[in-house]
């Protein structure tokens, strides 16, 4: 065992990937056995959660060991490509397809050696770093979840939200536009409810999903071919679906889960098209093999339009997964999931998978597609940031912030800042996980209060949470020497260099620069509203309490990472980041070095924007008692509160037509009148059901009438037999004659 691991240390990663899968399988088995064999229902156990935590911790240990081993690998130090590949990558045939035996004459000759779907892994700097990040953050979040989900260990859990929503209007986002009751603004006091919804605690199920997610995500990261990435891609998607809909009794959660799933399908269709194009053009799905054919410009077997289509398709997949415009609307709704899920899946790892894929397949994108990526990112980061300015739900602010930061990463990749984009991915994962877990701690401490308008002054009650969240806020705002500064500085620098070379694309630098200020503003606003000033809701404040150590410990660790993960020497030089240097190593050779640009100018402007944003927020919200957005919102504010009317637009353009078509199809399929009495005949000639019922009822009627022939009288049978024989004889004779 140890010998194989030393000979091929890449297998460390395989083991680390399979550990969460093993935990998932064990939990699933145990749950099934318990459901089948045990008494009808017991209190949810904690054992499964500890198992998942142990598996994740072991994965993290292996991931970090793997990273250290990789960086100190002798083959790596001497840049021996083949030796490195031999030790850090493997591939086996998974399914053989289209095998042609050349000895058989007449078998069609294949132009490409597309013979097998492969399974394989390949470790490079990007993979190793991402793997370590995912496992470490994942472990911390699982640890946090032990505390956050403690309520789920009760035999019965009361879900007030279900009752509240049962009495409130359904949000118009998905098809429920036929009620006339007025909408319930977010955070408005719920109407008094006569019922109390109870359900069983789901402690184990949560960790089951987390384990499956961890496996899928790690599989996605270490995979060396597009198909395996796609498998992981879909698996994380379905885990996201499960976890967003964790409280599936709430209509909003069920709708959000469906929305996320459908939105992702739109993107995945593009991804699938890209995979098929790659398969037919290159005959392999191995990313490295495909990329190597691009070494000297676009390869001859791929026509230029197909190249564009493949790039757009791949990027469409990334747009869906990373919640870029115009498929971004699912991510804010995904905040219906429990907060640790938002931190792990919808901030740190899964949504970054799109960015990772763009980075991984960088060589496959035509210059035009890259420009499209840059503009998508730029527009997304700006739009999402403006929406985040006015949100009052603490998690939604963070959700739009995530969309915005993902836009930064896409922008960086689009303008050629490969290292900048992926560095921002890594640093963002840490500080956004920190911010989400901090928000989770606030929500937990305030007994599931998410509305910023009812918080305030919480710093006195929740010291650790407030301090760690401040670190996160400063990091995302781009305060010098914190991790976010290094990455954002590089992103802006890449954008500036691009805009410098091609002045017509100046917007690609201006938008992120302005957004840097907006980012600082809304993050500072969030922190001031939650933690400073006088309490705006006495009830919430009085019952608020600091979270248990099992939840604050991950916060502290993540805060430490958020500060120092990108440090290098000298620390005041944004380019000296050690993490950035490591990423530089696995930069695809086709990428031109995105140096140049006026570094001081970009950094200085960004710092100025961030400082003014932060200052403005402090001026407006620090120590103020005013509740933001009191009174009816004005024009621009309403525009932002409605999130640029994207949901309304999609509702009109896609959802309502789909619902209408469904209704029509339903009318065609069902009886037009819903008669209550069980009619004997349900034949209605005008509908599909009517026809099908007519066929069935005709057969039944034939059977009913034919059974009278079966009299049971032997003599009758014989008579019929004889007469039939005679008749047939007569017919035959007549025909022959």
């Amino acid at each position: 065992m140890l010998d194989t691991l030393t000979a091929i240390p890449g297998r460390l990663y395989v083991v680390a990937t399979l550990l969460p899968l093993a935990a998932f399988a064990l939990l699933l088995l145990a749950g099934t056995v318990r459901a089948l064999a045990g008494p009808p229902y017991r209190r949810p156990g904690r054992g499964g959660a500890y198992l998942v935590l142990a598996a994740m911790a072991a994965s993290a240990a292996l991931g970090v060991t793997g990273l250290v081993t990789f960086l100190n690998d002798p083959a790596h130090l001497t840049h021996e490509e083949t030796a490195l590949s031999a030790r850090w990558s493997e591939r086996v045939d998974w399914v053989r397809v289209g095998r042609i035996d050349p000895t058989i004459p007449g078998s069609p000759a294949l132009s490409t050696p597309a013979l097998a779907l492969e399974l394989g892994y390949r470790i490079d700097h990007l993979t190793a770093l991402l793997f370590a990040m995912i496992t470490v953050v994942g472990t911390l979040i699982v640890l946090f979840s032990l505390g956050y989900m403690a309520g789920e260990t009760e035999p019965t859990v009361e879900d007030h939200e279900v009752d509240r929503q049962a009495h409130a209007r359904r949000p118009a986002a998905l098809g429920g536009g036929h009620d006339t009751t007025p909408p319930l603004f977010e955070g408005e006091r719920p109407p008094p409810h006569p019922t109390h919804f109870h359900r069983r605690g789901r402690f184990g199920r949560f960790f089951l999903y987390l384990a499956l997610f961890a496996f899928s995500m790690l599989n996605l990261v270490i995979a060396d071919n597009l198909l395996q990435i796609f498998v992981g891609w879909e698996l994380v998607g379905v885990c996201s679906f499960f976890l967003i809909g964790f409280n599936y009794e709430r209509p909003s959660a069920a709708r959000a889960a469906t929305k996320a799933f459908l939105m992702n399908r739109v993107g995945d269709a593009g991804f699938l098209v890209a995979i098929l194009i790659a398969w037919s053009a290159f005959g392999t799905l191995n990313v490295r093999d495909i990329a190597s054919t691009f070494a000297g410009g676009p390869p001859p077997m791929l026509s230029y339009p197909l190249w564009i289509v493949m790039g757009v398709g791949l990027f469409l997949g990334c747009v869906g997964k990373s919640a870029q415009m115009p498929l971004h609307t699912w991510l804010p709704d995904a905040m219906e999931g429990p907060t640790p899920v938002s931190a792990l899946i919808h901030a740190a790892t899964m949504v970054a998978a799109g960015v990772y894929l763009v980075g991984r397949c960088y060589a496959l994108f035509a210059p035009e597609v890259l420009l499209g990526i840059a503009y998508t990112g730029a527009v997304t980061l700006f739009v999402a940031a403006t929406i985040a300015l006015v949100q009052t739900d603490i998690k939604r602010v963070l959700a739009f912030s995530t969309v915005s930061q993902l836009g930064y990463m896409m922008l960086a990749l689009g303008v050629g800042g490969w290292v900048a984009g992926l560095l921002h991915l890594l640093t963002h994962a840490f500080f956004k996980a920190l911010l989400f877990l901090g928000a989770g701690s606030v929500i937990h401490g305030c007994h599931h209060e998410q509305d910023l308008r009812r918080m305030g002054g919480l710093a006195a009650k929740m010291r650790v949470t407030a301090a760690t969240m401040l670190v996160g806020v400063l990091a995302i705002a781009g305060t010098p020497l914190l991790s976010g500064w290094y990455s954002k500085d590089q992103v802006l620098n890449a954008a500036l260099a691009f805009a410098h070379d091609r002045p017509e694309h100046l917007a690609l630098f201006v938008l992120p620069l302005v957004t840097a200020g907006l980012t600082a503003f809304y993050m500072a606003r969030l922190w001031f509203l939650a933690f400073t000033g006088t309490p705006r809701d006495r009830h919430v404040f009085d019952h608020a309490a600091e979270s248990p150590p099992v939840m604050t410990l991950p916060l502290v660790v993540l805060a430490a990472f958020s500060v120092g993960v990108a440090w290098g020497w000298p620390p005041w030089d944004a380019d000296a980041s050690y993490l950035g240097k490591l990423l530089h190593e696995s930069r695809p050779s086709t990428v031109a070095d995105a140096g140049g640009g006026n570094h001081l100018l970009a950094g200085g402007l960004a710092l100025l924007a961030a400082a003014s944003g932060f200052g403005f927020a402090a001026l407006r919200y620090w120590k103020r008692e005013t509740v933001p957005s009191a009174g009816p919102p004005s024009g621009a504010r309403r525009f932002l509160l409605h999130k640029w009317y994207f949901d309304e637009l999609y509702d009109r353009v896609f959802v309502r037509p789909a619902v209408t078509v469904s209704r029509l199809a339903g009318a065609f399929d069902k009886r037009p009148t819903g008669d209550a009495e069980p009619a004997r005949s349900r034949v209605d000639g005008g509908t599909l059901d009517g026809w099908l019922n007519a066929v069935g009822q005709g057969a039944a009627a034939a059977g009913r009438s034919l059974r009278r022939v079966q009299t049971g009288r032997l003599r009758g049978y014989v008579l019929v037999l004889a007469l039939t024989a005679v008749a047939m004889l007569g017919i035959l004779t007549a025909l022959a004659g």
Binding site: L706, R707, R708, V709, Q710, T711, G712, R713, L714, R715, V718, L719, A722
Partner: protein, 104 residues
């Protein structure tokens, strides 16, 4: 003898067959039905030996099959009589019209 063609034999066989069928169809007594079946079988047998005699192509086959039918009729009678006995045990009659339990 040699001037007699196959026709009279075939007519006789057809007549026997018709008798057998009428007997099976008309009788209510199970034993009577069995006798009718025997008649039908023997009508077929008569056909077989007739063709064996008058058609040189079936010289051997006709006789062999006639023997086969005789054996078959014996077996059939044995089985059918067992059924009739059982029928009698359960219904205390051999009237086949009483055996209508499988009526649809």
């Amino acid at each position: 003898m040699s001037e007699l063609g196959p026709t009279p034999f075939l007519i006789l066989a057809a007549f026997l067959f018709a008798c057998g069928v009428v007997c099976v169809a008309a009788k209510r007594n199970a034993i009577g039905i069995l006798m009718g079946v025997e008649l039908v079988l023997n009508a077929a047998n008569l056909n077989l030996v007739t063709f064996a005699r008058f058609d040189p192509r079936f010289r051997l086959e006709g006789q062999v099959f006639a023997l086969l039918v005789v054996v078959l009729a014996a077996a059939e009678a044995a089985v059918a009589l067992a059924i009739v006995l059982n029928f009698y045990n359960t219904h205390t009659t051999v009237d086949v019209d009483d055996g209508n339990e499988l009526k649809g």
